[in-house]
Amino acid sequence: MYEQIAANKRKTFLLIFGAIVLLGAVGYVLGLLYASGPYGLVGAVALAIVLSFTSYFAGDRIVLASTRAKQVTPQEQPRLHNIVEGLSIAAGIPKPRVYVIPERAPNAFATGRNPEHSSVAVTEGLLETMNRVELEGVIGHELAHVVDRDILVGTIVATLVGAIVLISEFFMRSWWWGGFRGRRGGDRSGGGAEAIIFAIGLVLLVLAPIVGQIIRLAVSRQREFLADAQGAMLTRYPPGLASALRKIGAASAIPMRSANNATAHLWLNQPSRIEGEGTGTLEKLFSTHPPIAERIRRLEEM
């Protein structure tokens, strides 16, 4: 357990370092293209540092806001609060804040930077479909992520990747619309800038699969098996989580509007965004979870 915590802290450092280097490189190239000297590099590194700080200190709030999660009181959700409190006693950590996400698909995630600053969020669908034992299994899994500091890596990845996705989309769109305008109007003065934006867009397009790979490396599938096992150690009842996973698997066709590729790895199970389809092709690229049947099998063997 202590090795995992140390490994996760190391990963966090590498991720932040990598983001600074990556953005710095992009800034450097930009600076060369615009012939503005070191300003591109300095600006990009500054941006990367600000991004890293933000994702470390406010990552949990950003992730929670992006899923439209709402904090709930013990009076509103007595059962959920009782379970979270009980299992955090078992895990020996402070009680995390409790959130509910307005989604029909049953799913859950944990976020934060350490056990003292952590949150657990579950969807309305989860609360509706799970009985107490199953809910305990799910919360046990999430608290295992909290104890191991998986939430730190996961949250940093979510916010950094989210920022990169946002920036790349911005460039792709401005190239797309700018390109149309340029061609129609015959305005040639913007040609240089357009080419640069096009180049950045292309680079980021190539980067996207690499980013997906990075996520997979940072948040390996092994983590999910481990959290399943540790969660079962907390509840001392593996069939609870197994049964919950079975229900989640059965409901995997329900789409989740609030999930995206940047946060996919945080969820209890890979969320799907496409109606009727288990997992879309684009999601496969960012596939971060082991197959649910395999997880159930391992839980049943415990």
């Binding site: 007595p78 009782n82 379970i83 409190e85 299992l87 009985n131 107490r132 907390l234």
Partner: protein, 186 residues
Amino acid sequence: MPAWLWIVIVVVVLLLIGGILVYNRLVALRNRVDNGWSQIDVQLRRRYDLIPNLVETVQGYATHERELFEHVTEARARAMDANAVPDQAQAENQVTRGLRQLLAVAENYPDLKANENFLALQEELTGTESKIAYARQFYNDQVMRLNTLIGSFPSNLVAKVFGFRDREFFDIEDPARGPSVVDFPG
């Protein structure tokens, strides 16, 4: 300085470092055990607070169960007076058993089961029962670690020098684990 003196100095320094590490580990575990115990205490107190409320609510509907109410109230009083860990565990078992009976009795009164106040109390009780179980689980885990460290060589030497003692396990019946009767009425 002769070589043997150097060797002696190095050995002494290494032993000191090892001793300090073991001592710190012992202190950390002792604090975790104490913390675990206070967690159990908090939850047990919460349960004591719930009992009079619950008895009163059930009493309003199930008037013929006087003996049971008295039994639960008595068990509560005895548990609150208990001091040593084994006594406390014993007394808490009585409380747990009484409460289970009380909830089983409640099953026979449909009006009571529809009472919102009773349902809220039942959720609180179920939650508290499982928190007691989890707190006990945490406490016993930490006691086991501490006792293992105190019992094994060479950490037992450090433990002896600084007077670390084995702690007692808190053994109560597992109340709300797995699909329980308390949890799924009807």
